[in-house]
Symmetry: D2
Subunit: 369 residues, 4 copies
């Protein structure tokens, strides 16, 4: 019943509308003693920030995050952390068209039908601006993980844009930060640049697939049967604007496989079990195996396009709409830091849950416990 | 926190292990005045029951559900409904191999590492037998929906088995109950029969894709930003054993599309908005549009196969394992009624949430409100 | 929105009606590796069992608890523990009067008005029989505490019956089990016996005050600002049938005090802080101090009495009612083991929450950390 | 889980420290279409504001509330409402003593022991300043109730200060706003003024009892067995700083009564059941009866007093402390608006829960349903 909250012990409630005075995240349950400051959070927000390059929206929002509570002398105190981002680029522009017309593919119509009122300015609550608050909270989660589970490394990247996917033989995590698409394959990144230039000229948009991978995840996070790690990851990623599908490990492709192909065989390494493959995406029975946790999600193309689309007005009249304004032709690009933030929050939450419920892993393999 | 619970106002907690005395579902929050009896629930359980035909496991479990509380004189009273299924087919068989060895692709190893103890008999808590409890709870949810939102119709069916998908041009909901695969395409069902015969002979297994479609869903179910209808559907489906991916509407294919293709255009019909297509799967901004709500999920191939796989023992020694026993070559088949049950639970839960939070839809289109 | 659930990480959902087939508790979140068996739980149930002596109801219910899940080879596995008590004393008696008439002081009228249906047999869901399920769950909580926080000792006792209170100068915990009233003051126990004999003869009933004290509670349980230890204790005790007030430490008497009297001064002992008094009841700012946690609650007199009372029927006609049957003249007596069970559940829950959120206490006094 | 949240469908998370940049309440689940503005909330905050008269702390904090989200064109939109109060009176004063010494009766020592860090400035998170956020949220709850359940009227007042209680024969709700103590008995108010003058001179403080009464509460709010209306009221009131006891209806005095005295007899009035008395405080079986809902709570004397008390330092050394500063000699006075706010939040929450779970009351008395 927390409409706008996710997490169980590390609970994030985001609030705020695109063109209201501010938006932010109320984070309850952050462990005490975590070193964090505004600059650390700003680092992650800057990765998501619009106006970074010509492939994302040209709005210029400083997106400066302020910590209003829960941090004292540079450390979390165990009390709620309020992260606020003021909206500075609220141009008093003419919202004329979208006040009366519903944009196809947007939440305009369902918000209106359900609530009978909506802040239409820039999409209001349904704007992707909400994800800035998630990225701030994710920064805090990363800081907590750095103290509690220091081996975890979370990286997001784009693996497909429209019909063009990366070539996994060229996969290089080091390349991710070197191109505007967070692509681990530099060659594909160049093709995407060409594709997107053409798209933008035509006023159209395109979908994408993002992959988030976490290495160094301890064994034992997650719990049967509904608070599985994969359940919460699915929920977290699906809650991001424009996401239409979530995959764990092989995902949809698992349907194509035979059992003899799909099994990740187990051997014994010096530090414990070693798996021959990772079809499972690092999760068995809802619990992390210690392998990389791998999640992918599909982002639909931006619904705000320059092509005229048929729609209706609040009065029920049929009409057409063209969504002008500064929009990302591929919102998938900016979804990468958001997916990373959600992964950080889910892993921290399950780390705390596991510590609370079980204390520490109890079954040893090949040891004496 | 609720490790084994799903739902917010209609809350289902399943309990029980595959070979313990019983398993069941504790359902809290069912509205009062719902007409329900054991026979009504049994109807749905019988659809899921093993041993129905040669394509599912040959265990014969009557799976008889008993209502222990919350129903008085044929109606729910608003108090918790306890649904219990006793385990009758607990043969005191030799579990030898799986006591010490971890089956690849199973929860054996992670349960052991996390908890240091596991009921290994038949998979214990991680057995797909747990889904019988969900189906019973889903039956109760259907009964409640029949009273509260009588237009809703939920149907699940298999759309792909291994590499072979149905042909949508032959799609016929009436065919679903006429073949052992819940296939809406009778021709493909025959091919699947041939495929599965061959698979079973080879002792192998295969993955599948299930689609659950709900028509007649009222506008307005779901809520921004984390309690979206799609978020909860993703969570519900991903929590089913062996599921590796969840799609809403176009799902992963949305990544391939351009914005101009993806938009579901809106016209005005006699009873309200009419959409030109349903790429969105009946959900915009997390809220139902009134179109069919369409969810798909991929089920990995059964990990219990007759092919020998490499693994390790609790003592850390490398070895091999062959999983004998009576297993489904395609667990996807029996996942169909489970997916339907989860859909029923999620829709009822969101119906109650919407009624609590909003009362009734507040925005009229083309009307006078 | 768990109507019938309490706890956060150790979650207890009770289910069942007084005269249905069974009742019980679904316990989710019990840590793994806790040694427990039916006999251990039965021990606590037997303390609460009716028919123990002439001062409690003469119904004879064996109240045998069965563990249906979550325990394997004598240990909890971390999966849900289902505790079931079958109702054996369901005499097919004539419920005539209470079917149509509402008993004053009972839930009859509000259940009817809210739900439009109620299982009137023996009070149905609102019967104090529901507390048997709590006592079973409390037994499990005690077993878990014995492993995780072995120093904790929980004792409940009656400190007042009607206008007659115990004399604290005669307070002796050893006396508690030696009289039918759980009185720590044997002299008062004898007076209560006389009082109750007279009351029973007159067909009347009487209220009582119960105190539950827990020693050995670790410092640090509880959390600001709403998940305070005292908040959850208040909630837990107030949820017991017939309870009308809850006090922590000095309770209502704190209103009478001056700040200079109320302060528990602090000195330094060999093992940490030592307090000069315990006005606070072992809790400061919602967090346990390490002193005894002391809670009291007032139980109203049984509403089922032989004196005729005015009431109305479902049809709205004015009438009178006499509640015959086998009722406790002082339900407070049987509330003692229930209060203990709630204390055990709350302490375990907060132990797990603290371990999850904080790990271990982080601030040392007089040490080097 | 939600350490700093209360409520189920109307969820309030407060955040902020006494001397941080700001504090506030994140309110999730407020129904849409509620007319509200900053001035409406300010009205309630001004009632609680310090510096109102010589009997409350002389700090002058404007406590101006800002609405940062969830309200559009004067109405709630159904999205989270962020209420922020900036801290303006953060004098950079010398906190010397309380940095190293623990104040007896305060949360200083337990926060330190649990978290190893605390914002000691003005009590940080444990300061009663946190209740300003509750009052703001309560103002929003009142606005929502005004639309959804317009007959509800909530009034709080002080019924006892130290050993001096009001005389109920002089009870007059109209008097409540006419004296600085929210006393419904003007004569007692004058005695309290004299008492408090003497106390303040001596640097001491005193406890109090507050009663909150709500008339016009619809029948049917609350639910068995743990989400009882009284359970949530107990939890809400106990969570207020310095509260040590909560009573419903007769409260502790119920222990003194016989069943024949305690029963609230029922007659039939023109609009439904009429009760001869209200020992139950308007709640039977956890569900509202339609009578006044009556709650009382005891507030301990302010622990910050001028009398020197024994304590220890973080280093474990024994010492003494005098708490200077601007403190209320009777914090109970300012707890009155806080208790009202909690009542408003609980009633709204249960109104929404009831509407979600049941829809509307289903059992008619004397009617045809």
């Amino acid at each position: 019943m927390s409409m706008n909250t996710f997490g169980h012990l590390f609970r994030v409630t985001t609030w705020g509308e695109s063109h209201g005075p501010a938006l932010g995240a109320t984070v309850d349950g952050c462990p005490p003693g975590v070193t964090v400051g505004e600059a650390m959070l700003q680092h992650w927000l800057d990765r998501r920030k619009p106006g970074q390059n010509k492939y994302t929206t040209q709005r210029r929002e400083p997106d400066s995050v302020r910590i209003l509570s829960g941090v004292f002398e540079g450390q979390t105190t165990g009390t709620p952390v309020q992260l606020m981002i003021e909206n500075t680029d609220q141009r008093s522009k003419d919202y004329g068209d979208i006040i009366e017309k519903f944009r196809p593919g947007h939440a305009d119509i369902t918000y209106w039908q359900k609530y009978g009122i909506r802040d239409y300015r820039g999409g209001g609550r349904s704007s992707a601006r909400e994800t800035a608050a998630r990225v701030a909270a994710g920064g805090l989660a990363r800081a907590a993980l750095a103290r509690l589970a220091p081996g975890i490394n979370i990286t997001g990247y784009m693996v497909q844009m429209g019909p063009r996917a990366i070539d996994r033989t060229r996969f290089d995590l080091a390349a991710v930060g070197q191109n505007p698409f967070w692509s681990p394959d530099p060659v594909t990144a160049e093709h995407w640049a060409t594709d997107l230039d053409a798209l933008r000229k035509s006023g159209d948009s395109i979908g994408a697939v993002i992959e988030i991978s976490a290495s160094g995840v301890p064994v034992g996070l997650g719990a049967p049967v509904y608070r599985k790690l994969d359940t919460d990851l699915a929920s977290a990623m699906m809650s991001i604007n424009a996401v239409k599908a979530v995959e764990i490990g092989d995902g949809m492709a698992a349907a194509l496989l035979r059992g003899s192909d799909n099994a990740d065989e187990i051997a014994m390494g010096p530090d414990g079990p070693v798996y021959s493959s990772n079809h499972a995406g690092g999760i068995l029975g809802g619990i992390s195996t210690g392998q990389d946790v791998v999640v992918r999600f599909a982002v639909k193309p931006t619904s705000s396009i320059l092509t005229s689309r048929k729609t209706i007005t609040k009065a029920g009249e049929e009409t057409e709409i063209v969504t002008k304004g500064r929009h990302d032709p591929c919102v998938g690009i900016r979804a990468v830091p958001v997916g990373e933030a959600m992964m950080a929050c889910v892993l921290l939450d399950h780390f705390l849950l596991h510590r609370g419920q079980v204390g520490e892993n109890r079954g040893q393999i090949g040891g004496s416990r």
